[in-house]
């Protein structure tokens, strides 16, 4: 028999997990919304961020909170480089080309990680982050709550950046109408490169969180990308703030599927939801706003 407190606990775990999903997806959703590029190397960039945080902790004893900017910088640099080297040359080509291109970059990165750091699993262990907090029978760890808060902050921060800053506005204008933006004196090429780098940066900051709450290894990038894409579609392309809600729907749905049915159906739930939304409401749950 499932107790009431278990249902609440399960619900909470799904909500928190959903927050992480949003953070893991942010970079992909942003790049897709702005540049219309589905970055299939997204998950690998997250993994890179995770490795950066892991190694700075293991080698230099620097905690994940402090190493986060470093992870972000690594992701951003990788994004910038990918754009500089490859993407700018296929900007005008059909969508399929950028898809395959970024897929190739993803394969390259996965195998590079394997060469550099072996296939071992890495998990970022910091005492204070693992500490559980309790509210009656309901429990969560400091790390989970912090990650959730961070995820929401990242989403709101990105939103504020896009709406409040000059650079953000330029990015939005370019996304809505490239030609007019170019006529208005915006260097669209630079905007593209910048936006892709920001996508990398957003992926990079998700890495340490992945390392803390789950684990980092070369192969986990691919599944992360798929999850990020599912979330992007659920939220609706261009809806950044919708990611949090979409993540929660997915996270809670998965958790409750396990609680009330069986964990065999957890993934089935995710894909059914994905297909249902895609077929019934291709613009996603939360419209199309940028």
């Amino acid at each position: 028999m499932i107790s009431g407190s278990s249902i609440v606990q399960s619900l909470l775990s799904g909500l928190l997990e959903g927050g992480n999903y949003a953070l893991y997806s942010l970079g992909l959703a942003f790049v897709f919304g702005i540049l219309r590029i589905i970055n299939l190397a997204h998950g690998e960039v997250v993994v890179l961020g995770g490795y950066v945080a892991y190694w700075t902790l293991v080698r230099y004893g620097v905690g994940p909170v402090l190493s986060m900017p470093l992870a972000a910088a690594a992701g951003g640099a990788l994004g910038w480089l990918t754009y500089r080297l490859f993407l700018r040359r296929v900007r005008e080509a059909p969508e399929l080309n950028t898809l395959i291109l970024t897929f190739g970059v993803g394969i390259f990165l996965t195998n590079l990680f394997l060469q550099l750091w072996t296939g071992d699993l890495r998990s970022i262990e910091v005492d204070w982050l693992q500490r559980p907090l309790t509210l009656g029978p309901i429990r969560a760890s400091v790390g989970e709550l912090a990650a959730f808060g961070f995820s929401v902050a990242a989403v709101l921060g990105l939103q504020a950046f896009l709406h409040r800053t000059r650079a953000g506005k330029a990015i939005r204008v370019t996304a809505i109408d490239r030609d007019s933006a170019a006529l208005a004196g915006i260097d669209v090429e630079r905007v593209d490169r910048g936006a892709f780098a920001i996508g990398g940066l957003l992926a990079g900051i998700a890495g340490p969180v992945l390392g803390i709450l789950a684990n980092v290894s070369p192969g986990v990038g691919g599944p992360l990308t798929v999850k990020a894409f599912i979330l992007t579609v659920l939220a609706g392309v261009g809806s950044i703030s919708g990611l949090i809600a979409a993540g929660m729907i997915l996270g809670v749905g998965e958790a409750l599927t396990v609680t009330f049915f069986s964990s065999s159906y957890r993934e089935l739930f995710g894909f059914t939801l994905f297909l249902g939304i895609l077929l019934a409401r291709p613009s996603g749950l939360f419209g199309r706003r940028i």
């Binding site: 897929f103 190739g104 297909l275």
Partner: protein, 326 residues
């Protein structure tokens, strides 16, 4: 891409004749070495799936990211028909193709209103669902334990010659080659047919196609059904060839991704290009990259992929082979 000294341009028929001719003679050159033949079988299976995929993408302009779904479905359908229902493996393979058509229509009809990457990823979603079903319908599929001992196609006798598909790599090689020829031939006939013309117009511009009376939905459904039929057929061949099936290998995402890579690499604007691409990438991976790095050799492969997209987007044959005009 401009090829250096690309004065030479051949028709697709010529390219295909050269290609299939070389395939027929290749075993002689390799003195029927089973190892090379088994690598080639893998390449031919990939090539056939790539050509099938390209019927949908190259002819009709609809890119799918989920052909692993049809491949795995075909593999399971054939294995189950042969082992549970006692069909001959040959008949079971045909049955698998039909199952592929049925499921493709079920999947396709709601998905066709989606465009571009949405369509591609919807098919991916369906492929994942099929994989999860294979994993969870234990009583039918054996769940994650998979199915052992899928029988090889029954031996064929032609005069004094016997093709034993259980033991002989050569027999399997020629069977895989014939399947590729079949898929390619069907694709050529399809392109020449009235439905092929419809696909070309849908590929170019859906709205304009509808404007001149092309039934867009039916055209897409035809392309998907043909593509799924052959992909499932190849999945069935694979099942009878490796004699073992489990959800992870039959629905492996590689069956979705690698055909796309092969098609892009070989050239999507031709029908034989994807097959050539499959042979080249399999060869590079097996005989070059693997030698350079024992583990993680797919690193080169990722780079190569990116390089092809950026610097040779029309593929190996794209710039060289003329598309036939009707």
């Amino acid at each position: 891409m401009r090829w250096p000294g690309s004065g030479l341009r051949v028709t697709e028929g010529t390219a295909a004749a050269l290609f299939f001719g070389a395939l027929a003679l290749l075993p002689l050159a390799l003195s029927f070495n089973p190892y090379y033949l088994s690598i080639l079988v893998a390449a031919l299976v990939l090539g056939s799936v790539a050509v099938s995929w390209n019927v949908l993408a190259g002819l009709c302009g609809q890119v799918s990211f989920g052909h692993a779904g049809f491949f795995g479905l075909g593999a399971y359908a054939s294995a189950i028909l042969a082992m549970r229902a006692g069909w001959s493996p040959w008949l079971a393979m045909a049955g698998a193709g039909v199952a592929g058509v049925a499921v493709s229509l079920l999947i396709g009809l709601p998905s066709f209103k989606l465009r571009g990457p949405y369509f591609a990823l919807a098919i991916l979603g369906f492929a994942e669902v099929l994989k999860l079903l294979a994993l969870n319908l234990d009583s039918l599929t054996g769940g994650s334990q998979g199915i052992f001992g899928v029988p090889p196609p029954t031996a064929l006798r032609l005069g004094g010659l016997t093709a034993d598909f259980e033991a002989s790599r050569t027999a399997n090689y020629y069977l895989a080659g014939l399947l590729l020829l079949l898929v390619w031939g069907a694709a050529v006939l399809l392109r020449r047919s009235r439905a092929g013309v419809a696909m070309a117009t849908v590929h170019a511009d859906e709205e304009a196609a509808a404007g001149i009376g092309v039934p867009v939905l039916r055209t897409k459904a035809t392309a998907l059904a043909v593509s799924a039929f052959f992909t499932a057929l190849l999945g069935a061949f694979y099942a009878h060839y490796v004699h073992y099936l489990d959800p992870d290998s039959a629905f492996d995402g590689a069956w979705s991704i690698m055909p796309i890579v092969a098609a892009l690499f070989g050239g999507m604007s031709t029908l034989v290009g994807p097959a050539v691409g499959a042979l080249v990438i399999t060869g590079l991976d097996e005989f070059l990259f693997k030698r350079l790095f024992e583990s993680g050799h797919q690193l080169f492969f990722g780079l190569l992929l990116a390089a092809v997209i950026v610097w040779a987007p029309s593929g190996l044959l794209g710039g060289r082979v003329r598309r036939p005009t009707t």
